[in-house]
């Protein structure tokens, strides 16, 4: 056995291109272009500048939810957060009621929503680590709690309205003709890259996700880190909820439900296997964009909501075939 890890000989250019093209991020971007082309063919105007901007806004909403999902999945041990949709809905309602159409209410709404998201994330994290409830069960149960809570909250209380400032932030040009939410998404992307690549916490997430026992023996506070991941997931879902309120103008129950499955698909498509420990957020951003375009094409060719859900479900299963089997899922 050779002691040194010798770098492999530089492959032929063609092989290198194939290797490059196999990366999940590249696959996703190629598919984005292909889907845009397909959409344009099916319905001229699909890939117009204005339309692409709208797709990007919708993708940003999904992408922000998927950021939290991505962190939880990276942390391994079958980490998954099924409650994100419920937190998005709750956050949209809390924000709508607190700002009630006034710009003055925005700061309080933001603080309250983020605190709410963090709180539910904390519950999830505690359930998963200290009470040892599997993430799938814990967050599914939490989703149920949130859905019930939404029904209770809405009884007798008028549905809130977005402040004009928030609505403008989401849909109107903010800087260089680009809406604020897209800038927010870019900032979140940069923060995620920094967190995962340049902080001790980021390295610990990968360590826990790839070998929890070894991480524990190297002094990583495994439980605290995992709780933090769920809290962050709740916070990102809450931020997405506020933005969603701005996008739709008023909050209605279960507005966030549509995000659960796509947020997971975006993560997996972006190259983070459900077993955790590898991957990152850049791919997830591409995955979110891809899904939104796919959804838009499905709308264009008149496939209704139930049909779209089926397509998404099948997409996730097909993705699992390609990316999910890198490592068998073990407790």
């Amino acid at each position: 056995m050779s002691d040194a890890a010798t770098p492999s000989h530089s492959p032929a250019a063609a092989a290198r291109i194939v290797e490059f093209a196999k990366q999940p991020l590249v696959v996703a971007l190629i598919l984005v272009a292909a889907l845009l082309y397909l959409g344009e063919t099916l319905s001229p105007g699909f890939a117009s500048g204005q339309q692409i901007m709208r797709l990007l806004i919708v993708a940003a909403l999904l992408g922000i939810v998927a950021a939290g999902q991505n962190l939880v999945v990276l942390g391994g041990r079958e980490g998954i957060d099924l409650s994100v949709g419920g937190v998005v809905s709750l956050s949209a309602i809390v924000a709508g009621n607190l700002m009630a159409g006034e710009n003055a209410g925005i700061p309080l709404a933001i603080v309250a929503c983020i605190a709410t998201g963090a709180l539910f994330g904390l519950f999830n994290g505690i359930g998963v680590t200290l009470l040892r409830i599997p993430p799938l069960v814990m967050t599914l149960g939490m989703l149920g709690v949130l859905q019930g809570l939404l029904v209770v909250i809405r009884q007798g209380i008028p549905s809130g309205r977005a402040a004009p400032g928030l609505a403008d932030f989401v849909s109107q040009p903010f800087l260089f003709g680009v809406p604020g939410i897209l800038w927010l998404w870019v900032v979140i992307g940069l923060l995620m890259a920094f967190l995962l690549g340049r902080t001790v916490f980021g390295h610990r997430i990968y360590a826990i996700g790839s070998n929890e026992q070894a991480a524990y023996m190297a002094g990583v506070p495994v439980k605290a880190a995992r709780i933090a991941l769920f809290v962050l997931s709740g916070v990102f879902a809450a931020i997405a909820g506020i933005c969603l309120l701005g996008y739709s103008g008023s909050s209605f129950a279960n507005v966030g439900e549509q995000y659960m499955l796509p947020s997971i698909i975006a993560v997996v498509f972006g190259g983070t296997p459900l077993s955790g420990g590898k991957g990152g957020y850049t791919g997830t951003m591409a995955g979110a964009l891809l899904l939104v375009i796919l959804q838009s094409i499905l709308v264009t060719i008149n496939i209704d909501e139930s049909g779209r859900q089926m397509v998404f479900g099948i997409t996730l299963l097909v993705l699992m075939l390609f990316y999910g089997r890198g490592r068998s899922m073990r407790a």
Binding site: D3, A4, A5, Y206, A207, A215, M217, A218, G219, G277
Partner: protein
């Protein structure tokens, strides 16, 4: 009459010959003892007979007829049963069900026959009447039982197969005196019925109490077979050692510091899962060795001191200050380091870059928040170079390295901020010779710089060559301390097989 015969049976794992050309004859109606040090091949041999390992070459004859044992089920159909050391019980099921797990009595081949199940379990449990202790009954659930009671269930389970050849591999390790006596009575009764017993134990007194003949295995080869009545413990140990290396310990040059050196670590009456009442001191500059056969509590003590499996009793002092080993994180902060031999599970963070595998301890001890790769690299490189680690770049995944270099990366973690005490838990398992040499050179250097080091090595030569003092473990307790010129292979084996 010869019941079981092995002719030239060999088994290799990669380049390691676990067993080469083993010839063995087991008579009907005898208790045949297998002896050998760690990794001598006695487990491989019993696994081959029990069908869980397929031999590369050789033949197995049962009643004079060659047989092919394809798996545990096939072994059972040939009338061969094995007692598994642990973990072959279904923890949530009852004693009665576990006893018959291999062949549940059924009605019409589908429904479990509860009455037959109980009747059968009752019959075998009666064998141990009066020595089983409280709470041991047909419908007791395994996870509620004590360790010795679980072991009795394992024994009963092996007996219930009514095999003509039964292998007992360390079947008495958790039993008390009365239980062992009863077990031996049962074995004697089985002998009367003409059954053959293959018996592996690490207690010399038991071997001489129950054995008819003993076969010694060394380095995968059968050294010889003796009638127990015609031999002595010292002759058997001499066979295990092999005549030539009686004084092979480099023991003579004694590095250890004098009694004046300060204590690095002081452990008093430490108890926990798998060990009890362990006391010892480690001086600064000393390498203290843990010896004995596998699994006698050496790893458990080291893991307890590191807080990975906290001790339940006793006290620990580091540099004269009391220490509470609550978890690894707290211990690392206090200056305790631990290197596991189980690299894949407890050492490397698979799939991550080499740099990320070196840095976690430094991040923790320096309470760092940001990871700046160039700054980290400046810390990591000298640590890796101290061990002469060969790698192409810090950004390469750790899985691109050989086993030896992976282990060097894991050890390099502890060299950035020097710990006061270094616990080495069989650190050279599965690594190449040159890496071992680099490793031990570094350990000696660290000791000379004043670190207190505890080294558990399952390879006796490593222990004899590198430890200044050796504590020999048996049954979760320290049985003997070997110092100076007493550090010989003979003494090591003798202590390892000493009565508990």
């Amino acid at each position: 009459m010869i019941k079981l015969k092995l002719n030239g049976v060999s088994k290799a794992y990669g380049a390691t010959k676990a067993l080469s050309h083993a010839d063995l004859e087991i008579e009907a109606g005898e208790v045949h003892v297998l002896l050998g040090s760690n990794g001598s091949g006695k487990s491989t041999l019993s696994k081959i007979v029990a069908g869980s390992v397929r031999p590369d070459a050789g033949e197995i004859l049962l009643d004079g007829k060659p047989v092919t044992i394809t798996g545990p089920q096939s072994a059972r159909s040939h009338g061969i049963a094995i007692f598994y050391q642990e973990l072959s019980l279904a923890a949530h099921r009852t004693v009665a069900e576990n006893i018959s797990l291999a062949s549940l009595p059924s009605r019409a081949g589908i429904f479990v026959d509860g009455d037959a199940l109980e009747e059968r379990a009752q019959r075998y449990m009666a064998l141990f009447d009066g020595v089983t202790g409280d709470g041991f009954s047909l419908d007791a659930v395994i996870e509620d039982l004590r360790a010795d009671q679980r072991q009795l269930v394992e024994i009963i389970k092996a007996l219930a197969i009514e095999a003509s050849v039964i292998i007992f591999d360390e079947a008495t390790s958790a039993l008390d005196r009365a239980q062992v006596e009863r077990f031996f009575e049962i074995l004697r009764a089985l002998k009367q019925k003409g059954r053959s017993i293959i018996f592996i134990s690490h207690r010399m007194d038991e071997i001489f109490a129950i054995g008819d003949r003993a076969t010694v295995i060394r380095d995968g080869q059968i050294v010889g077979t003796k009638r127990i009545a015609d031999t002595s413990p010292s002759e058997i140990i001499t066979m295990m050692v092999g005549g030539h290396d009686e004084t092979d310990a480099k023991a003579v040059e004694h590095h250890a510091p004098t009694g004046a050196a300060a204590l690095a670590l002081s452990v008093k009456n430490l108890g926990g899962r798998g060990f009890g009442d362990v006391s010892f001191d480690v001086r600064k500059g000393e390498i203290l060795g843990f010896g004995g056969l596998h699994g006698q509590g050496q790893s458990a003590v080291l893991k307890a001191l590191f807080g990975a499996a906290p001790p339940t009793s006793g006290s620990v002092e580091l540099d004269g200050k009391p220490l509470n080993p609550a978890n690894p994180r707290a211990m690392i902060r206090q200056g305790v380091a631990y290197v596991s031999g189980d690299r894949a599970r407890e050492g490397v963070v698979t799939g991550r870059p080499i740099l990320e595998n070196v840095m976690p301890i430094h991040y923790l001890r320096d309470r760092m928040i940001l990871a700046h790769p160039p700054a980290s690299a400046r810390k990591a490189l000298p640590a890796l170079q101290a061990l002469r680690t060969k790698f192409a770049g810090l950004g390469f995944p750790i899985s691109s390295l050989s086993g030896g270099n992976q282990q060097k990366v894991v050890i390099a973690r502890w060299l950035i901020d020097r710990p006061a005490v270094l616990l080495l838990d069989d650190p050279t398992k599965g690594i190449d010779l040159s890496a071992k040499a680099d490793l031990f050179a570094l350990i000696r250097k660290l000791a000379e710089e004043g670190m207190g080091i505890v080294l558990y090595a399952s390879e006796d030569a490593e222990l004899l060559d590198n430890a200044d003092r050796i504590l020999v473990f048996n049954g979760g307790a320290v049985r003997r301390e070997l110092t100076g010129t007493a550090r010989t292979r003979y003494n090591l084996y003798q202590a390892a097989y000493e009565a508990a």
